[in-house]
Every structure is written in structure tokens, then in C-alpha cells.
Subunit: 167 residues, 6 copies
């Protein structure tokens, strides 16, 4: 059952009975430990990817910059997403994995609070991907950011969610 189970019958929880956007009331929800993992992928031309992967220091700074931007982006989530509740993040970790056709990005966020932390994890991977785009855009304008999605979620009434393997 969904964490926002009332949505099942009523439809979109972020709209009230008149269809107006509001920040849903979470004051009755239990305070539980929550975790979310999100993913993204950015395709990058092989020669640019090679530039990032080779050489010790440049690699450090390109990837470090993206990791830090993702972490800082997670902290700005409720500033960016209009109906998102502010949450006290207890940890964020952004992982970057250079693959054949681009870089796989993953973010794991944790909190102890009354509402889920998916948006923080999704914002972290999005901002990390945009930062990689920014750093490589002078060399490759054909980059595409995609596969931004929730991989895992736990905590709250809805229990554990794991993305189906074939999704």
C-alpha cells in the first residue's frame, strides 16, 4: 500500500478537492527511518570519457565536482520542488561509475522523518548529471541524460520498494 495510500482512490495527492496545488499534510505520519536510492545515466562521447578517465588529477576533480554538486543539490531539494517538504537529511552519498558509453550515477539518501526521501535522491543524481554535462559540454554537445529513476525505497507506511529488474 502506498505511503500516500489515500491517493489510490482520490488521485493526485498534491491537489486538493478543488484541484489546487498544496503541500500535503504529513503531521499525522509516523517518524521513521527512511532511505531512497536513485539512479541516472549520462551518455558521453568515448574520447571525452577517456579524457575524464585518464590522468589522475583531472579525473579527481571532474568526478569530485559532480559528487559534491549532487550532495549539495540534495540539500536544496525543497527549494527547487514546489510541493516538497523540507527534510533533515542524515546522509547523502553519490557514486559515479565510468562505463563504456557514459557515466552511471547513483545516490543514496537517508533521513529520519515523516515523509519519504525519494526526491532528494532523484535531485542528487539530476544535479550530478547536469554538472557532468556542464564540465564536458565544450567537447561534446550530444550528451544525453536519462534513466533517472527510483531504484529502492524503504521506511514509511509503504514499506520497501525495489525497482523490478526488467523495468
Amino acid at each position: 500500500m502506498s505511503d500516500d495510500a489515500q491517493a489510490g482512490s482520490q488521485g493526485l495527492t498534491h491537489l486538493d478537492a478543488q484541484g489546487h496545488a498544496h503541500m500535503v499534510d504529513v503531521s499525522e505520519k509516523a517518524i521513521t527511518r527512511r532511505e531512497a536510492v536513485a539512479e541516472a545515466f549520462i551518455t558521453i562521447a568515448p574520447d571525452v570519457l577517456a579524457l575524464i578517465a585518464s590522468g589522475e588529477t583531472p579525473k579527481g576533480d571532474v568526478l569530485a565536482t559532480a559528487r559534491i554538486a549532487g550532495i549539495m543539490g540534495a540539500k536544496r531539494t525543497s527549494d527547487l520542488i514546489p510541493l516538497c517538504h523540507p527534510l533533515p537529511l542524515s546522509s547523502v552519498k553519490v557514486t559515479l561509475d565510468i562505463q563504456k558509453s557514459g557515466i552511471a550515477i547513483s545516490a543514496r539518501a537517508r533521513t529520519t522523518g515523516q515523509t519519504g526521501i525519494e526526491m532528494e535522491a532523484l535531485t542528487a543524481v539530476s544535479v550530478a548529471a547536469l554538472t557532468l554535462y556542464d564540465m564536458c559540454k565544450a567537447l561534446d554537445r550530444g550528451m544525453v541524460i536519462g534513466d533517472i529513476r527510483l531504484a529502492h525505497k524503504s521506511g514509511g507506511r509503504s514499506g520497501v520498494y525495489d525497482r523490478p529488474a526488467d523495468a
Copy 2:
């Protein structure tokens, strides 16, 4: 030739000779009128999509919320992307198009300045997509945001760029 043409030989422009991240110097660049168009797509389950599309007011607020979040996100670009220059945006427009399997998002940003405005357009579509995700996530956890890419760019030394049709 690239707007940051010196990158062609040196590699990643956002790293200095030691491989350290820095905000590149644009003070010698000409002030020109610049435009960028970016795109994204979010897949949404058909029944949730139907909920957004049907009914007058809810549709207004869901899509309006995403449009506004995208516009406001564009204004926060240089706060989010570490090495991005602050730019005086002269216009931002976010367009949402409900399609069979999801919503196509497009953003056009304009400025008159010394550096390109791609990141603002890309940030606008990313934040609009994340906002749609947030508003629908109680109904569909399988949504995927993808195809975030630059469609068009003009202004600056590099001239006009249009994404190849088959890319």
C-alpha cells in the same frame, strides 16, 4: 568551432593545467544575444497520465506547477552547478506536451551575455520533470525521466547548433 574552442586541444575547459576545477574566465568574450532550447521526457503510467489530462483544474495546477518550477529552477542554475557563471536571464519558457506514454518537456532560455545559456535550459527541463515526478509519485513509482538534451543553441562564437534529427 566551439564557443570554448581552446578546449579542442587542451581538453576539459573547467580544469586548469593542474587538473583543478575552476570557473573559466569569460571576461574576454563578446556580449551577444544567446538562446538555448533543451528537452526532456518523463514516462508516466497511462492511468496517471489520464488523471493529469482529464479534468480542467487539476490539469491546470499540475502542469502549471511544473512549468513554474522549471522557470524558477532556471534562475537557480548557477547556485546548483558549481562552475556555471551567473547569467541575467532575459526570458524562460517551459512547454509541456502530454503524449501517449508520458509528458514531453521543452525549455527555451535567452540571455544577452558573455557565455552560453544551455545549462539554464537543461536545468529548467530537469526541475520541471522532477516536479512532475513529485506530484505523481504516490500513484506511480515506475516513472523514468530521460532524453534530457540540448536541442538548439545560438549566439556566441560557436554559432548555431541544432541537434541532428536522428540523435
Copy 3:
């Protein structure tokens, strides 16, 4: 008795004994569920008001933009008001009512915390009003925003406050 009852004898609670501004210490206060409702009114010329009220889509976006700005403004309260404590908002709802001479704005904010949430509700109506002003200012420069006030407050030591009907 006031939530900051010690102010009764000492005067302004946000000043210390030397008259210097400081953020008052709330660490001894109980964590309680708190709610505040604030109101505002913006006078708008009848023909402009008619433009907002008539037509389905424009109405949606003008009012939706103001509602969302109010909600996002509430989340920025402690960034704007120097001595205001950061608070974990558990819900915000902004309501707009088109009346004969303008638009009545109301905001209800809730939290579970150690200090009151009036400023968040007051900031929400103020930012919503400023946003309406911004969207209509090309048509009417004589708009006036007024009647920004607290309508209701509950939670904390001071108990329930309801604005007297004739105030």
C-alpha cells in the same frame, strides 16, 4: 499568556539585555503541533480582475502561480526574516478568492516544533500577493496589498488565538 511570556515584562524578546538583536533560544520549549492562518488582500482594478477570472486556462495559471509562490515563499521564511528559526513545515495551503475589488489570500501552515509558525503563514500570503502584483502590474499600477495579518494560531504555551471579528 504569550508563547514568549517572558516578553511581557522584559519587552522585545528579540533583543538581549544590551538591546542587541539575537535569535531567541527555544531549546527549552516543548515540541507541540502548531498551526497558523494568515490573511492578505490585494485590490485590483475591475477590468484586470475580470481578465483573471474569465477564461479557463489563464485563470489557472495566474492563480496557480501565486499559490505556488506562496508555498515556496513559506519554505524560505527563515532565510528572509533575520531572527526567525528554521522550522520543518508539515503542510502549507494557500487559498485565493476572487472578490469584487480584488483577491483575498489566505494561508494555513502547520508544523510540529518548538516555536510558532505565524511567520511562515504571513510570508506565504505576502509572497502570493507580490506574485499577483507582478503578473498584473503591466495593466494596473494602482494595486495595493493590505490587511496582512494573523487570523488564527494554535499550539505552544500561548494556546489558541483567534483574531477578534472586529479587528
Copy 4:
């Protein structure tokens, strides 16, 4: 004629032909020196007003805090008002005048740019008023903020505007 004169016939300039909110394009506008003066008034109970007015240091800090909050608020205008363009403020001055029934607030903002600066001046007085409210709210919950309006505007195609004396 309005600075956004095309609005005269088309209606609300912040909505496009489909009624969707967008940030209007100012890239064709001339860069001119622009100024705006906005006003507000906050009614405060006489005994609280006396506390603010009497005593040297407290007065300094209450009024100084409100002045600084107003100036800083002006700098955040485009973060708060969704369709407002970011502007390079060249000066902001907030003036507070203790009167019989409250405090009159005035803000003058200047810029050299492509769009008007009314919203910065209006945001300055609004944030200054909210800050006074915050500092006095433990002593007086009946305060009302009102008369937030544009007093003067110059620069841009629309020329000089001065609020009619009887408005």
C-alpha cells in the same frame, strides 16, 4: 504607455497565447537607468511602539534589523517571485518612520537594466514589514501590514509614474 505596452491589448503579459505562465522576453528592451519607490505601513500597538522608539540601543537594533532584512529581501526578489527577471541592483535604501499608530516603511531601488525594478522595491518593504512583525509579535498579535504599493517609478518606455495623491 505601459513599459509592457503590448499588454494593453493582449491582457496579462506573463501568460502566453495558451494562458501558460512564462518569463516574458525582455531581450529587445533598451538598457536604461530605472528607479522605483514602494511604501508600506505596519500598525503596532502604542505601548509596543513606545518600546521601539524609546531607549537608544534597542531602537537601533529593531529598526536596523528591519532595514537590513528589507535590503537583503530586495536581492532575493527573483528567487521569490516566479516570473520576475534577475536584475543587477545598483542601490537599495529602506527608510523607517515611527508614526503615531505604527511604522511607515519606504524603499527606493535602482538598477540599470532591461526591465523595471518595482518588484524589488515592493519586496523590500514587505520583508522589512514582516521583520518588524516578527520582532514585535510576542507583545502584539493584532499588528496589520498594509498599504503596500508603488509610489514612484522611472526609466523604461513607460516613463515616469507617480502615485496620485488621493490614491
Copy 5:
């Protein structure tokens, strides 16, 4: 023993096993009342210092502006310091003391949370010092900000820390 005692053997806690920056997980830590006091000193030329110290109102506004900037800076700490957790500040107090060769700055911050509040106190004194610099820089370019350090800390596993007198 340190609050982050595991660091003793492992080294830098903000880096994971691969040496990548992350926001450390505090979700297992106890929620305790925490306090930190930080200090700074800014040297200012005697004649400029005399200008600040003499005259009632100017003194009020220069020092008030720095105090308020310090308080507001403390609230922005987790926005500025990449790996810093957001914390619900329960109080901040900034104290300025005009001395013979400059101004001594002190900040005391308190919270009830899962992680320490040193960075908020250190950010408060740093921003207050930078604000004093900004206000005096037209008269004295030789100012130096120094002695930014932790004076006291309590709460959390590591217990009380007081800076050695001779440090």
C-alpha cells in the same frame, strides 16, 4: 573520545573507503542538546575603529548589520559547506566587542539534534567579520580577519571541549 570517534583510526570521516567525499551518516547518533562557541578577530585601523565606536547611530547600524549577517549566515551553513548536515538551530547569538586594534567577534549556537553545531558558530563569526570588512573597506584595505576558531563545544558523544587557554 571524539563524537566521530571512528575517525581516529580511519582518518578523514568525510571520505569513504574510496576517498570520495560524502555526507556522513548520522542516523544512528543520539539526539542531544548541543552548543558551540566560536571566535574571530578583525584588525581595523584605529581611525576607522574610532568612527565605528563614536556616534550613537552609526555604531548601532555597523555593529547591528554585522550581528544580523552573522545570525543569517549561521542559518545558511549547510548551503555553503558541502558536507555539512542541515540542522534546526534553536538559537544563535553574535557578540561584538570593540578593542584597541580591532573587533572581537563571538558566536554561540545551540541545537537539539544528531550532529554538532560547530560549523554554524564558525560560519556566523566568519560572515560577521566579512560584513565588517565590507562596511569598512573604503576606508581601510589593510584589515585582516583571523583567529577563527572553536572556543567551546558541548553535547554529543564527545562531551565538553574547551579550547586550552594558551592555544
Copy 6:
């Protein structure tokens, strides 16, 4: 002659005739290319310094995090310093140099605008230093940040300033 030469006789430029803080009017100033270099030093215990200096990846991320925080901090300067004008930064570069007793930090900022850019350079070194403190504080609580000062400045009416060698 000072860039704010009128300050010579009048005293503190950020206060008006009544001693009230305001953002000084720069609209009459010429738009010139401006540069500022600021410095800071953070003392760190030798064993912690060795941890940062040794090992390839950790070093990359600790120093990269501080560099990026400094750059991003420079972009937030006018948000943090109450009377500071917003400026379109055209470049920022933060340099870290591991020395015997700590890390020397330097930042060079450039803009083309109507007012100086010292505060951006000083904010960059301050935030970079605070970030180093944050990352090392579990290992060394005795760190001291100092010697935050302007090393060089050019552009504007006041011409070139270079800090005297013995200052």
C-alpha cells in the same frame, strides 16, 4: 584615491547621513574590468595534514571539495553580505597549497561591472577554509583560520592595490 573616494571625508560609506545602513548607489560608476585576489591560511595538525597530503584519491576529494565550496561561496556573496551588490562574476579560481603547518588558500575573482569584487574573493577563501575545517574537525579541533586579507585589487577609480610585503 579610493574607489569610494567620497568616504574619505564622510566616513563609512555604507551608512547614510542618519547613520542608517544602505546599499550604496553605484549607478554612476563606470563599468570596468575588475580583479581581486584574497588569501587565507588554516593551521592544521601535522598528522592530519599528512593524511590530506598522502594518498591520491582522498587528497583529490578533500582539496577538490574545498575549491568547489570556495567557488560556489563566491557566487553567494551578495546573499551573505547584507550591503554587497550582486555582481556577474566572470571567473573565480581557488588555489590550495599544503604547507608545513597548514594550508594556504588563495582566490582570484574577476568581473566586468560597476563595483569591486574584493568581497567575492574574500568570501571564496573564507568558505574554502571553513570547508577544510569541516572535513578535518573530527581529527583536530585546534585548527585556526586566519590571515584572511586582500592581496591585490585592480579596476575601478582606485586603480591597482597590492598589499605591502610586510603587512
